[in-house]
């Protein structure tokens, strides 16, 4: 990152981050972030930014939001000690259970928050994009809860590999719009949603699902997801008797990771984001954006992206639809650049193995996305024995059954006498 941030600036930026002074007025996290959008979208983003500025800090919004989180989402989510995993890894493992949140992942924290905002902004309908389908389900549910019509853009490839979530969205009254353009996954779905937004910027609220995109989304999503880290901090102190030595979260766009990390930035905790290592280190073989990407502009913000030398965005590969994205939130780009968070990758195989281990040792079927965090946390624990680690369990794995059935568990018993 030396090309982007001079080392003299690095310390200053870190301090600004820790002080909560980022993003700045222009939506920048140091050099990252900003707002790279068509002029057609400028009024929409300005309206949104103004809405965020007005409502997000308001007591009335925060009250409504807290109540929905508590009464409907089921927060606080549990913090689980994992005795058998701890024994196996030779460390003390704690798990923040976003899988227990309504609809099965952290995505709902953001979805219900933005849906409340949409309502306050007088939107007539909500559009959203989805990759793994978790954000689509969360958006559909949040919109149903608040009585807002909802359309979800979803890549044709993802529609196929996340079939259970497509059905759930339909049930929740949302329209699922199959995106056949581009890479037919999350990236194309975001583009399509943005295009739709242009058609009626005043009537539509675009409910973006991760800490990516143009300002104010990375900020808005971080604020809404920070409940994860806030709760974790309090629960670790109370249940574990102290903060963890290290905290791990998987990173797709980076919303669950920023939600967990942000409230822990000032603590002496090693923070590690785990991306999708896919099937290899080559371009196009993974979705390890921060680990292998370069700076560029994608879908509205300047961040680290996976691209070729001509600036064309690279298609990605990952067994987990929710990590299968060529970009990453700009705040993560800065956290990496200033050295506060380390970003690594776990491969498809490692994730699958970790998923299986967690299932069999703790009876928790985690999402394929989340499994990446476990895979690396295990490696780290072997190198750093007898510590206390916290893992952000961003979602449950029910939605991944169609994918998982292609990888039968190695320990599967055979049915029959």
């Amino acid at each position: 990152m030396s090309s982007v941030i001079k080392s003299s600036e690095s310390e200053e930026l870190l301090q600004a981050l820790l002080d909560g002074r980022l993003p700045d007025e222009r939506g920048r996290f140091g050099p990252f972030g900003g707002r790279y959008i068509p002029e057609t979208l400028v009024p929409a983003f300005e309206r949104l930014e103004q809405g965020v500025r007005e409502h997000l800090p308001s007591e009335s919004f925060q009250e409504d939001y807290a109540r929905e989180l508590r009464e409907w989402v089921g927060r606080p989510t549990a913090l689980s000690f994992a005795p058998r995993l701890s024994e196996r890894w030779g460390t003390e493992v704690w798990i923040k259970r976003e899988d227990l949140a309504h609809t099965g992942a952290h995505k709902i924290n953001n979805a219900i928050g933005q849906a409340l905002l949409a309502k306050r902004l007088g939107a007539e309908r909500v559009i959203a994009e989805t990759g793994a389908g978790q954000h689509g389900v969360a958006s559909a549910a949040a919109c149903a809860r608040l009585g807002l019509p909802c359309r979800v853009y979803m890549g044709a490839v993802d529609i196929e590999r996340q079939a259970p979530n497509v059905d759930r969205m339909h049930r929740l009254g949302a329209e699922v719009f199959p995106v056949e353009s581009g890479d037919k996954t999350l990236r194309a779905a975001i583009d399509e949603a943005l295009r739709e937004w242009v058609s009626d910027p005043a009537g539509i609220y675009y409910l973006l699902g991760s800490a990516v995109g143009a300002h104010p989304y990375p900020y808005l999503v971080r604020e809404l997801q920070s409940v994860i880290g806030k709760e974790s901090r309090e629960q670790m102190t109370r249940q574990a008797g102290g903060l963890p030595d290290a905290a791990f979260a998987c990173v797709g766009g980076g919303s669950n990771a920023i939600g967990l990390f942000y409230p822990l930035l000032n603590d002496p905790i090693e923070l590690i984001g785990v991306e999708a290592g896919g099937i290899g280190n080559g371009l196009g073989e993974n979705a390890a954006t921060l680990a292998t990407g370069t700076p560029g502009v994608l879908q509205g913000s300047y961040s680290i992206i996976l691209q070729d030398k001509d600036g064309n965005v690279q298609e990605t590969q990952s067994v987990s639809a929710g990590l299968d994205y060529s970009g990453v939130g700009p705040e993560h780009a800065l956290l990496q650049a200033v050295g506060r968070v380390k970003y690594v990758a776990a491969s498809d195989d490692e994730a699958l193995e970790a998923l299986e281990e967690l299932c069999e040792l703790e009876g928790i079927l985690t999402a394929l996305e989340t499994a990446h965090a476990y895979a690396y946390a295990k490696k780290w624990s072997v190198d750093n024995p007898v510590k206390r680690v916290l893992i952000g369990n961003s979602g449950r794995g029910d939605k991944d059954m169609p994918t998982l059935t292609k990888y039968p568990p190695r320990t599967r018993k055979h049915a029959g006498a």
């Binding site: 581009g182 242009v198 058609s199 502009v297």
Partner: protein, 257 residues
């Protein structure tokens, strides 16, 4: 005359000639890379300014037609570097504009970009995902070579901002005629005249209308209130169907009178 002034001048010349300036758009290297220069030259023979689309993997502001052409061009190896190589030593008089998303320009490097553009007769740029607020660096680099950055305004742009953008724009002001994406065939909005008149009034340079201009009638309609008409998706569709782009453009010039 600075490069971007050539654009304005070409449009004004057409108007002086009693015509609406015609600004055809073509995705570079589409449908076949080896036909690119021939196509470009034939289009430049009719258009007053020609827009060259740099294909990008993530054309978020474009409709299906241009998306398709963009992906096809990438598949065929078309890159910004390649485009400049093709343009090297060209003898086209018509001012050229490049339309590109920001990331390929970033990857190329702003300084080198401006240099190569000046060398190859490219007089300015349209960058659909670069709003004015984020454009200072690129503008500076372009201006150093006399090149222009075309700003877009839309029907939803408030008056104050419209004025600011019109004044910041170089070459012409790109007046988006519909609030959708390129390539829609919903026709043109009802209050088109008022809108275009307002942009024109705010603008020290010519105003060209674009998005959704598909037929002679559309050119005639916008021509009454704008200096030029930009024809994008409709022309790409002609190329897609393997038809003759010059013939199609010729049919529009009749309307441009």
């Amino acid at each position: 005359m600075l490069a971007h002034e050539k654009i304005s001048a070409a449009i004004r010349d057409a108007n002086a000639d009693g015509r609406t300036a015609l600004v055809p758009f073509v995705t570079a290297g589409y449908p076949q890379p080896d036909e690119f220069m021939a196509t470009l030259e034939s289009i430049a023979g009719i258009g007053d300014v020609v827009e060259i689309g740099v294909p990008f993997s993530d054309p978020m502001a474009d409709g299906m037609t241009i998306q398709r052409s963009s992906f096809a061009a990438i598949e065929n190896g078309v890159t910004l570097r390649w485009i400049f190589e093709q343009l090297d030593g060209n003898h086209i008089d018509t001012p050229l504009l490049m339309m590109s998303y920001l990331n390929p320009l970033l990857a190329f490097g702003y300084e080198k970009l401006a240099e190569r553009a000046r060398e190859t007769g490219v007089c300015g740029f349209i960058v659909p995902d670069l709003p004015y607020e984020e454009s200072a660096d690129l503008r500076a680099a372009l201006e150093a070579q006399g090149l222009g950055l075309v700003q877009l305004v839309t029907p939803a742009t408030p008056a104050g901002r419209r004025k600011m953008l019109a004044e910041a724009s170089r070459g012409f002001v790109y007046a988006v005629t519909i609030t959708g994406i390129t390539g829609g065939d919903d026709g043109l909005p009802a209050d088109l005249a008022g809108y275009l008149d307002a942009v024109t009034a705010a603008s020290p340079i010519p105003v060209c209308a674009g998005f959704g201009i598909r037929a002679a009638d559309d050119v005639r309609n916008v021509g009454r209130h704008a200096a030029g008409a930009i024809v994008g998706s409709a022309l790409v569709e002609v190329l897609e169907r393997g038809e003759n782009p010059a013939e199609f453009l010729q049919s529009l010039t009749l309307a441009a009178r």
